[in-house]
Subunit: 387 residues, 2 copies
């Protein structure tokens, strides 16, 4: 409306833009198909073999529709029926949060499944990788992903927790299990590992192949906020944990919940082996930073530590290494190959090995700061636990 | 664009329309607040004490934004910042699927939580009722809502199932439980009862008050389709089960799955009492019609029957009443008070009582064909089971 000729320009783009742009600058492989995050019965979103995401939306009266993914907005093109279609540049394999933009409104894609991330429920899309078999749904014995609630004194509230119980948990009431406390990243919540993380299927498949020991996994929300009405204290995006403060607020609040409420609840209600040798903690991104801080403050509680895309952890971070050393059995660090931290974890792992604690570095090929890196990390980490 | 003066008319409506319309024809009580289906941290959607739903969407370049709820589209009004706001007429208390419409595009509301219904994942909203305490999250012993998978020969596929285990299930490995098979409605799936149905919290609260016997609840997807690529065979909306065919396809396929795969899986993997006296079946809408057909065909399998908003069931429907009579203990029928069927179930229940089978009719006050009717129905039905 500000530029009266805009309509003419847009109309021209509608008639010719799509074909011209694709031929001239943007050859797109035409092998798009729905992906595992497309709603059953919906035709879009689709992904092609280059990793491009194609979306489609009927919006007859709209002036502009965009696909907003990976911090880039891609213009869609309207056909005669008022249906807009368009695709992104190739994306990394793995899982990406995204949204559509209709005349300035950011909305979920009505064709996608919805996930919690980036601080909201919204669209997510899976760009297929070649190694999806390890979290595929197969005819193997399946564990149980439990949703339940408990009252936490630390937060004075009833809280939701997800708990993975390995196959056979209900068969032998005399068997007890080790436990992994597994944390999500910033802007995510307790649903992440069980949903886009495919934790249950990863574990079911590992156990069916005899590649892991059976253990319980506890997934709670570590973006804890005990204050009145405010948001949890979190570092800004991309900001590391403050150097001058070993347990900043965002870890201290979850530490209190974990130690005073969550671990006691789990150990009173599930058949766990309640000792340090059989208790692990891991997390991705912010969850890994929380893991590092909480384990350093409580070395007598956890024996196996996993940090996925969460920076490095070396023996020089520990003030009293003699107290730390006898209790900790494994320090596992991982990054997506396209993350900057990937080059540093090998040396850090070696430093642990040199003082007699098993250090493992894992780099997820060709992935960035997203869930496929973390699924692969869990797959590797789980095979090393409690052995 | 078709009507060049439309912009002027719309601009006028933006400046004056909202206030005028509200004063003249549409006085709206200004006590809107976020509801339990609003995403945490989001300000909208909101509901007021009249049951009006108010939504808000930033869409600076849009020409028209609407709230689409209860089969009516309500125009929103744009402010100077390009933020559109508007509300619906008063809605019945309870749960409603809805969507937004931006320049012709039907999309989920980015501020709502998402639910599976109407054949898709999309926005749902809770219009608060006065009786929400029975499914409130409280500091009581909580059961577990289990998500797991099993291989079904009937469908030659791995299928997801949700199972509610009552509080204490893991405490006493010698205790066995009765089982209720609980079905969703048309266009819904196995997530409905555990999500918008609040099955776990309803049962936790009933059990904490000693109002129900503990039992297991199994929730699978009864919109079964074993054919290649097609949709399940379903009656059209509002259409009753065909009179000339007692087990139409939509029940026969689920019957096969239930009898040959689901019940055997549950009885092999959970501590259930595997006999007719301890096996119940119920469902809402289509799920209740399936219940009626499957129970009539298999009277030796189920003793307690629930049909929520699913028509009536009378002794005259049974061909061999002498075979049916000794085994069935309860026929429960319910409707929302605003549904047409509500007036007919009292007489039907009485007909069961007259032949010595307990018949119960329940009418949910001031609700229609939606989840609050069905939550209340489960609350009533559960108190009558296995006693």
């Amino acid at each position: 409306m500000k530029h009266p000729h805009a309509w003419l320009i847009i109309a021209g783009a509608m008639l010719f833009g799509s074909t011209l742009a694709q031929v001239a600058t943007n050859p797109v492989k035409d092998d798009f198909k729905p992906t595992m995050t497309t709603q059953q019965g919906k035709k879009y979103p689709q992904v092609n073999s280059e990793g491009r995401v194609r979306v489609q939306l009927a919006a007859p009266q709209a002036n502009k529709v965009q696909l907003d993914i990976g911090a880039v907005k891609y213009d869609l093109v309207k056909d005669e029926q008022g249906v807009w279609t368009g695709e992104s540049a190739p994306q990394d394999v793995g899982f990406h949060y995204y949204q559509l933009n209709v005349d300035g409104a950011s909305v979920p894609d009505p064709g996608s499944l919805y996930y919690y991330g980036a601080g909201r429920w919204g669209s997510g899309i899976e760009v297929p990788s070649e190694d999806m078999d390890f979290f595929a749904l197969k005819d193997v014995p399946h564990g149980q992903l439990v949703e339940t609630y408990y009252y936490a004194k630390s937060s004075s509230s009833n809280r939701r927790v997800y708990i993975y119980l390995p196959p056979g948990y209900d068969k032998d009431p005399s068997q007890k299990y080790p436990v992994l406390y597994l944390q999500h990243g910033m802007g995510e919540n307790e649903t992440g590992w069980g949903s886009q993380g495919y934790t249950a299927l990863i574990m079911d498949n590992l156990l069916a192949e005899g590649k892991a020991k059976p253990f319980i996994i506890v997934m709670e929300n570590s973006s804890v906020n005990f204050g009145p009405g405010g948001r949890p204290a979190r570092p800004a995006p991309g900001q590391a944990a403050p150097a001058n403060q070993e347990r900043p607020n965002f870890a201290a609040e979850f530490e209190r919940l974990l130690l005073n409420d969550l671990i006691p609840f789990v150990e009173a209600n599930y058949r766990v082996i309640p000792n340090q040798a059989n208790r692990a903690m891991a997390g991705l991104s912010m969850g890994g930073m929380q893991t590092r801080l909480i384990v350093m403050a409580n070395p007598s509680l956890f024996s196996h530590i996993g940090m996925f895309s969460s920076g490095t952890f070396t023996p020089t971070d520990i003030k009293d290494i003699d107290a730390f050393k006898p209790s900790v059995k494994l320090v596992f660090m991982s990054f997506g190959g396209r993350e900057r931290g990937a080059s540093r974890i090998g040396e850090a792992a070696e430093a642990w090995n040199q003082i007699g604690i098993k250090g493992v570095a894992y780099v997820s090929p060709e992935t960035a700061h997203e869930w496929h890196s973390w699924r692969r990390s869990l797959y590797q980490f789980a095979q090393l636990l409690f052995k």
